[in-house]
Symmetry: D2
């Protein structure tokens, strides 16, 4: 967004604001107050909490410090809807979010409106570039929560024996006759390459600073691993062969009784999968999703390949289009790949890399509470790249770094293989 003036930039941001905030609200359509309140595990948050917390972000970082005479919607909300910003004060404990039956979903909608009106009323004259920066950050933050909204509601509904659909349009026609193309390896020469954000548009702090990385020659698979290939791994004893697994992974798999991806159910010999459309047959041609890093790594070892590093992935991704199967299609399931060539790097499933989420050389935490954004999470988590079928269109980019602990499975996480040349 290379704007001419602060006021123009603000005006553009307000347009984006309206659109993105409205998208979030649309996600809640069809959910009951109860659906929006329950919390299915400590990692997940209630829908209502996502709706409120994103508003709290704008209120706390944009409105309160920068807008004179702004009136808090409700002073208690700072305690209730702070997520992890230690600098902003005490917080409601994360695992107890599902007990907040009040405020109601309607209260939260009113809270959203209150914040939205105040943000839209910000006048171009008085606006500082700091406000624009924070607004932009808030919108990208909002989009992150749009994705979590969907993954968390899926997890909640998956716990319900009734297996309700989040949205249930006509069933997808699944092309089963011809599978996806064979895996083809795309070679890259390596060398010293530039990686990380260029600085010409928004990026999160962890994507910076842009720096050089040294790559060895490598090859990347043309598409992601499919459910059908995963089933072969399972049938070959993949989940029962210790030598394929990292030690921590083997322990996690044993302790949690993993024998298939999350949400798979063996229904009398036929594999079903809980989806946002309810319980549906596993699509063997589509990319596998809902696997942990540990499982991805074991699969790659079994296959005789490895996961790419995040720098390899980013380098390769510059050669492909960044379109793909994102949330905006409301498909909400990964799509079988039909294109030849290096394809599907964006959308469908987040691809686990072998890179731990660590600071880029020269990384500095920003000042203030917003500085807690990503830096404090830089231990124990692994980088994923590319976005998924529940990521908002336009949210990801080649330099985008997502990250989760290696045992997490409730995101739309899959894998693409790499190997040395």
């Amino acid at each position: 967004m290379a704007e001419n003036s602060p006021a123009q930039k603000l005006s553009h941001l307000q347009d984006a604001y309206l659109r993105i905030r409205n998208e979030t609200s649309c996600l809640a359509e069809g959910l009951t107050d109860a659906d929006a309140t329950a919390q299915s595990m400590p990692d997940a948050s209630p829908s209502k909490w996502h709706l409120a917390h994103t508003s709290w972000f704008f209120e706390t970082f944009v409105l309160v410090p920068h807008i004179r005479n702004y009136t808090l919607f409700n002073p208690d909300y700072n305690f209730l809807f702070n997520s992890y910003y230690e600098a902003v004060g005490a917080r409601h404990p994360r695992p107890s979010r599902g007990l907040l039956t009040r405020p109601s979903l309607d209260d939260i909608k009113a809270y959203r409106n209150h914040v939205d009106e105040a943000v839209m009323a910000i006048s171009g004259e008085a606006v500082s570039s700091q406000i624009s920066t924070l607004l932009e950050l808030g919108l990208h933050h909002e989009q992150q929560h749009q994705e979590l909204f969907l993954t968390d509601i899926l997890h909640l509904f998956a716990q319900n024996p009734l297996k309700p659909a989040y949205r249930n349009p006509v069933p997808l026609e699944v092309i089963r006759e011809d599978g996806p193309p064979d895996i083809v390896w795309h070679q890259f020469a390596g060398g010293v390459v530039e990686t990380g954000d260029r600085g010409d548009a928004f990026a999160f702090d962890c994507e910076r600073p842009r720096h050089e990385a040294l790559l060895r020659p490598f090859a990347l698979a043309g598409r992601a691993v499919t459910n059908g290939e995963w089933l072969t791994f399972m049938q070959d004893g993949g989940y029962a062969t210790a030598s394929l697994w990292l030690a921590d992974g083997w322990d996690a798999a044993r302790n949690s009784n993993w024998s298939a991806p999350l949400y798979w159910h063996d229904a009398d010999g036929q594999w079903q999968q809980m989806t946002l459309r309810g319980l549906q047959p596993v699509d063997l041609n589509a990319p596998v999703a809902h696997i942990s890093y540990y499982e991805a790594d074991a699969f790659a070892t079994w296959f005789g390949a490895r996961l790419p590093t995040e720098h390899e992935w980013e380098h390769a991704s510059h050669s492909v289009e960044s379109d793909g199967n994102f949330a905006d299609s409301e498909r909400y399931r990964p799509r079988p790949q039909t294109r030849q060539g290096l394809a599907g790097m964006f959308g469908d499933v987040w691809e686990w890399t072998q890179s731990p989420f660590t600071p880029y050389p020269g990384f500095r935490v920003s000042g203030g509470a917003v500085g807690e954004y990503n830096g404090k999470f830089m231990s124990g988590q692994m980088v994923l790249r590319g976005g998924s079928c529940v990521t908002p269109q336009g949210h990801v980019r080649p330099t985008y770094r997502n990250f989760f602990h290696p045992d997490k499975r409730w995101q739309f996480s899959g894998l693409r293989l790499a190997k040395d040349c």
Copy 2:
């Protein structure tokens, strides 16, 4: 209910059915779908679950086996709303009840109507005495869940930092000028007494068989211990003096950091208490509630007295009126005792006895799934007597045995002292 004919008995029961079922439904007025869905701890159940489970009881034990052509409202509900009846099949795990955002509160209301219509349509001609017996049991079961409905919603709202009131009529006028009468000891001679249900009206299986018990001379306090007396115990170091406590109680108090009754908050030196009316000042003249058996026992030791046995309590209770402060007054808080004499044995607070909940001599479990009613809980729990301010009027009687594990605090449980003569 000494009825002349089965049909008359049925008709009377149907009248009672309408009234009691309607009372349950009224309890849910003012609750949102979310309020009715959340589960604040494994011991508690969602309101929606209480509404559904009591209906499931009638459906499973009355309608399905006895009413030809009865159509199940929803075949999945047997799995969802079975509580602990192993004989009736698999169950949704108790700690996950709060994740059942579907079926909705409206669905459950429709379920209740469906069951109610079927019960009301039972024709007097064809009716067996077995149906009447089960209907009567179902209504007493329904009343038990009315009380749990209230204690569980209080526990849920107490977890919410907003401290919402369940119902908030005008504040109670609290008489503070003159406290309750001093503790006066009422003497009983002891000897061999009859105890347990006489058999002339409904009673639960655990109240039978009537049998002889041998009592030694004892004295019972004229009223329950008050919040003011409890505060004295606290100020005297009661929670920090190991010698007052049972070993398991001392461990529980240490592990859970007990230093006051459940729901008490120290608000800058003034004690507040979460109630069904929201956060309110502790009424020092009212009976103490929300204490565990361990605390009750420690208090009695500190006082130089003891808790009564359940047989002592029952024997003494025959000499008093069974009226009192029950749920029907919608006070929902224990009331300061103003009467002289042996008073307040019924209503206000359940009174912990020193008697473990064990079978009466000659106790036999009934046949069939209903036989799982009380017998299987006869280990590790302590008997409480007399009902509370959230017990439905008419539900308790002198022989009524309530029981909870000795560390439980979320019921309206208090104590009345006893001593040897």
Copy 3:
């Protein structure tokens, strides 16, 4: 022990002291320092700890308060070897007892000698009856720990894949040809009976006061339930039939995967049992041991009988001899019953009763730290009667009340059936 003078009483006690203390020391023969140090679970204690704690008892309650110029063996030992006496000060946490590799077994033996010399040096002239009372209590306490010494070392060795024997004399000849006599029911008329300690010899505080109890007519089985009968229960699905079990028992059995008594191993279709003599075949004719109260209750329900109350057991036990298979025989395993009539009530296995361990009417805790003896454990535990094959000869008596939580299995606990007449 109706002695003529305090000095004579002391002298007799010192004789008993030497004998009993020596018996304890003999138990440790053959154990390594490591054997004596390890702790296999929080419920169990290291052998070394038993050896030290019993000495600490004499030091703390007899020597320090009553013997002028007594020199502590080591001031740190009060912290290390206090068990649960809150009044005596801070304690080393129970689950960490196995980390006390120092002091060594030899140090503890020296501690025992130090204490023994001081006790034996107490002069008859100066002695108070209080010292005699405490010495006598200390010896009965010592005998309790002799039994725990054996049950705890069995539990430790059972965790070792090598299944070492504690003592391994020639194998017991097991009479397998003719089983035990059939179960014969012995009738008792009931009525008001006296129960509890008469006061003419030593008894623990919990056996007092003697009082009246009201018994209904009952029958007691002539012998304990055997391993063979238990195997029939197992083969009939006893461990998989919820309706036989108390609710807490069913949960315990599921959570801990109980499918046989503790220490039973299925060795290719033949049942083996870890014993103090190492791994040996299960003796089908011998009384079953190492079962919890929950299992005993489920068996009785399956059989169509019940467990006796402790008063029934005590009343019946007055009609039998109190000899039996105790630790002194060094058999260390229950023995098949061969006698006709009401037999085997003492020794072989502790017999679970249906009575919770509660205070007798009029029970008072003694003053001082010794007053913590039994009273504080009077919740949540069940009474067992009669002693076992690892109880010291002469330690139990008809009024003796042992008690454990209902899920405990590592004691030599079995059952004898009862029923109503």
Copy 4:
């Protein structure tokens, strides 16, 4: 070891074998059987286990597969003393190692002799280079366990209220008058550098393959952070300031109540520290030890610096001597640094780097069970470099990669600061 012939190489290895195996045995001198048996936490192992497991390694990987007619010392030992080699069969569960009171310490010494005799009897004629490779690996493995032997016995003794010394020679004279030199920053230019093992001597699999790494200009502190500097961090509220901490670190610090390094005790205002020499004053001039990665990272943030990457550390270490304060001095405590210049990189304390322990580009797991050596641990752990005061002399080298989870504190782990230029 560039040997002329396999037989010569074997002979040299056998000399080294005798020496190193003897060093291990010497470590056990002065320990009792009990000391050698206890396990103070799941992360630590009993001394006896270290003594046995290292022997098992030679038996399993050298003797059994390669030496005809080798007789197992005891067939049960494969089950007891396998550590984590899934390919070699079932294992005794790690947290239960402390319950193996049998075999005794003497049994284990006999086991060691049995294995040693067999290894020393290997004849040069018949020897394959594979045997030499495995012997060499076994000796480096043995040295790793020498260090763990010491850190684990320290942890055990630290749990004992008596705070026994492992070895207690005359107290160290502590130079307190003049502290260590100020921190001086040593600059490095960066660029593409070679890193990892050159292949001219023994190295673990994880040190290979040698490869290029791209470094940015950086500076490294001339010495490690001292206890005195750590105390300043503590006094400045370091443990109470969330903004200094990684999120997982903050949680770990809160959950475990960290407020000082492990083994520090505040003795009436003076800091004491449990050491292998017993409880001793904290030496403010010596390098801080027993801190987790999380603490190291928080300290660096507080200081305004960062931890070095493992490649930076390795690159810088080539410019310094590899002598230092190792286990052979039997000092067993970090030593205050007195040298100017870049000093103390080897010995004293392992230095946390900011690098997760991941495979080097092109890393391949070796075949067979030995292949489980390091690769399976390449997730969730952080690299430490340089060895400590309990590392055997000659064991570490510039390319050596040690690794632990970021919350571990019982190793002699400290830190050296780095910063960007």
